[in-house]
Symmetry: C3
Subunit: 427 residues, 3 copies
Amino acid sequence: MEQLDQDAGARMHDWARDLWPICRSITGPGIRQTLDWLETRLPGLQRHRFATGEKVFDWTVPQEWTIRDAWIEHESGQRFAEFNRNTLHVMGYSGPIDAELDRADLLSLIYTQADQPDVIPYVTSYYTPRVGFCMADAQKQTLPKGRYRAVIDSTLADGELVLGDLLIPGDSPQEVLFSTYICHPSMANNELSGPVLATALAEYIRALPRRRMSYRFLFLAETIGAVAYLSRHLDHLKAHVQAGFVLSCVGDERAFSHVESRYGTTLADKALAAALHGRDSAKRYSFLERGSDERQFCAPGVDLPVAGFCRSKYGTYPEYHTSADDLTLVTPTGLGESHAAMRSIVDAFELPPAPHVTVLAEPQLGKRGLYPTLSQKQAIHPARFRMNVIAYCDGTNSVFDICARIGANLSDVVAELRVLHAHGLIA
Amino acid sequence: MEQLDQDAGARMHDWARDLWPICRSITGPGIRQTLDWLETRLPGLQRHRFATGEKVFDWTVPQEWTIRDAWIEHESGQRFAEFNRNTLHVMGYSGPIDAELDRADLLSLIYTQADQPDVIPYVTSYYTPRVGFCMADAQKQTLPKGRYRAVIDSTLADGELVLGDLLIPGDSPQEVLFSTYICHPSMANNELSGPVLATALAEYIRALPRRRMSYRFLFLAETIGAVAYLSRHLDHLKAHVQAGFVLSCVGDERAFSHVESRYGTTLADKALAAALHGRDSAKRYSFLERGSDERQFCAPGVDLPVAGFCRSKYGTYPEYHTSADDLTLVTPTGLGESHAAMRSIVDAFELPPAPHVTVLAEPQLGKRGLYPTLSQKQAIHPARFRMNVIAYCDGTNSVFDICARIGANLSDVVAELRVLHAHGLIA
Amino acid sequence: MEQLDQDAGARMHDWARDLWPICRSITGPGIRQTLDWLETRLPGLQRHRFATGEKVFDWTVPQEWTIRDAWIEHESGQRFAEFNRNTLHVMGYSGPIDAELDRADLLSLIYTQADQPDVIPYVTSYYTPRVGFCMADAQKQTLPKGRYRAVIDSTLADGELVLGDLLIPGDSPQEVLFSTYICHPSMANNELSGPVLATALAEYIRALPRRRMSYRFLFLAETIGAVAYLSRHLDHLKAHVQAGFVLSCVGDERAFSHVESRYGTTLADKALAAALHGRDSAKRYSFLERGSDERQFCAPGVDLPVAGFCRSKYGTYPEYHTSADDLTLVTPTGLGESHAAMRSIVDAFELPPAPHVTVLAEPQLGKRGLYPTLSQKQAIHPARFRMNVIAYCDGTNSVFDICARIGANLSDVVAELRVLHAHGLIA
């Protein structure tokens, strides 16, 4: 398999640290600040805007939420659930409050994750007005008796939904799509890992001397952002997208996960399966276990060839949607390995889509120095991998199909195809 | 899964008790009495008649068999194998006899099941003339020495083969077929369970306020009856039958069995698989293990989309084809569960054949009260089943395909589709 | 399964003994002597000739190699690696030498198989000039100190590549192909088993009173011979070959192996799977594990429907490519069983390609004496196999497909189809 680009991993981890303090939600200042940051690295990033109240397919764009501060203060002066210590302490889309309460009334405003008593859970209520704080259950249990002041300094008002869209054009107008989300507050795997990987991939693609394919990167609010984008761009996407990947939870080191498209048979599924083949703890999940924007991209009538890529899939790791999903869980190695896997897909899309060997019968590899000149019994034929790649370069298989046929990882097959191409053995 | 209709089960069991004493065979008075009984519940039941000697495809209709009485009497006056105690004591289609015999000659007329010494086996010789009694092997071993009189008061004479046919018309001339047999003497699972389930299903369908599909019920002699019916109605069936089910051994509580059509890929197979999904001890048998009239309906050139439905499949349970196949083996619960499974198939056929969601991207279920308004981590998303049903309502899947895709039982999917239809989310 | 033809096995083993002493290589006198022997049994065998330097697809025909003698003599007069004791002692295509050497220099010319110290390995260097002896590693370790004379009396000179080609015509110009190789020195399984089986099959086919199909047998050098033949005959083969089989290592008793064509889905794959179904230790290998001329016949653009047949597959048994691959490893029984398996394929090709039952619904087998006349419960229905064969005689299945559908060996299905044909039940 490919060499790991250690620098890429470290660079992405630094970027995630920059973006960590911003309190993002599906609308509001946090998402704009995040797009500002992305634009510094990705000049040309376009923004699309959708006004509060705009109908996007079956949905309506909600009001814009601004959160400035939040805390709970006991009559003793002790403070809890301070927003400026952890952005998770306020429920996403919480309405404002500034009230004196006794302990019992306060408790009714506090959300915890009882089965994980030591972490702050991530809770939202986008479309139903609520007021709420989030707190470790262990802390909630020990809140002292007495009177409290509860303050959430937030606003819900008409505004806009905004999202970022970057097209890197190539020789063909056909596109490979990467979509990721920028709508969660301070969480690392289930938020920042996606945008920083997308940024690094876009930089890699931009640096290619020439591109066969065009590449599109979307940075948007999960669900409503994807629905909104699709509502304006569906025809274009259906005509141009060859394969797409939703990047979510791509920074830890525990697994590689493929979340299938609706039927699991698209080019994106084949590409992802090839890129993950043979990696430690590679897992394949059916569409029944989806959870990110493959929900929208693969919905009936949308029908885009999009699969989801994760390390530990959302919902399957204990830190998910809690304050424990932080920058110790996401590592430079984790991000770097994800980068390598996605890069192998880009490299494959830059090769001929269905390579064809240029000779009839087997080529005489020996005369090209590609085959042992002495024939003696060995446990595995030294040119076996090479001959297997050649055998399926018959013009009917994509690079990804070849990986599936011969049971090999994409980066190894890409490297071999480059050798064969250099020797004139594939067109 | 659906609620069990306890009343239906009890009602069917009562009917089976009514029909128990009749000595049916492939022809003769027993089958006519059974049709008389069915007609009282199913007005409009048509009879088709085939005269002895009539060619039906490769077969010839045999003579009609009438059995009045049979017994063996020892010189002591003790009687054995009394037909009026158990109809199984006389071999099906046995010729008449009234003779004095010594024990050795008598034994040559007695058929037993040596590996099940305590039960009377069910034995027939339809197409080769024989005379025979059937008896528990244990009893045969203890028959006293001495002289015997053996009496079988039967007639084989030219007559007719008769069968029952009920069409319940709907908006569409396309038919769902249920076929069952009425040709065995007093056995409960492998005889009466089928006709009483068919009767209850026909009553259920007739009570529907409106029907999208037409439904046909056949009550006939296994093999020769099915061949005879097909010989006159094949063209009509090939043009109209969407899916068919052979009901056999549908009254015990031990398993649910699907006997596949010739290739296991028809709509009937999909429907049955969906109806049995997730039920305890559901088993799927290939066509290689067929045994009832799927043999005829799925024969080459007939090629009807018909699968077999059983609880414990014929041939797989110890009581099969013996006197132990009685009304303690068949229970109200067993019959009721079969009824529920078949009813879910009828309900599914009354829904649109390939449902299509009415919106692009995911619908906003929350505004319809079909989705939780608070987003907080849970082991399984509370709307997951609903979202999975919606995802595959893409106009390419039958209701049965959706069950297969999402791994759900038919009655649950039918219920969910009714909810989605009520909210305008499927057309 | 079929009865074994003991005579055929013994006859083939005798032939292998005749051919054993000849030192074959990809060119030279050995291959011509072998063709001479084949022609005595197979009159009409044609030879095709390709001159040294001729381009055959991507390859160039090499010089012709003649080996007359070879040995190593110690100063004491003791001789080692004597060609006239074992043809494996000289490396295939070794250049000539006649030199006095000290022990160290001699050792650099000796090839052994270190992990099998007691056997002489088979080593070749066809396309890169080398000089070499082959020897058991144990013997090499004990070569005495002192001076040696090393002699290889060989010639490499312009000449020809020659191969044998026998067509046995039938009613149809469509061909079944058998290809085997005659390019190895004295080895039994990985050389002689193939040509003697091909010879026996050709004799069997010639003796048939009439042939539906045409049959072609190729005897050639592995790789270069197959490439050369294809370079002249590809269009003809693509237009005529229905199925082909590479016969290699077909004489031991340890396994039956099927090496798949490139996608494992050709008629040859189906035929071979059917012929091997249910045999002890039958194994199926993907094309990724190919090694004989299926490499050429199935290469991209050649695309012939050819699979490989072996007992123990080349490369998987310890004697492979060593002096232990001798006529004790290959046995009359081993050859006879291979003959029976291949003969069942020939027999199947002589039947109608997609048999169709002549009646609608099930035939009444009882009136033909093909079905029990008494119906009594039994563990497996006595006519089950027969009814299963009939069920899939629907005009869409080849004889081989029927085997796969019902899970039966080809020779059993062929026998049953002959019975059904005799009763007019299949056309």
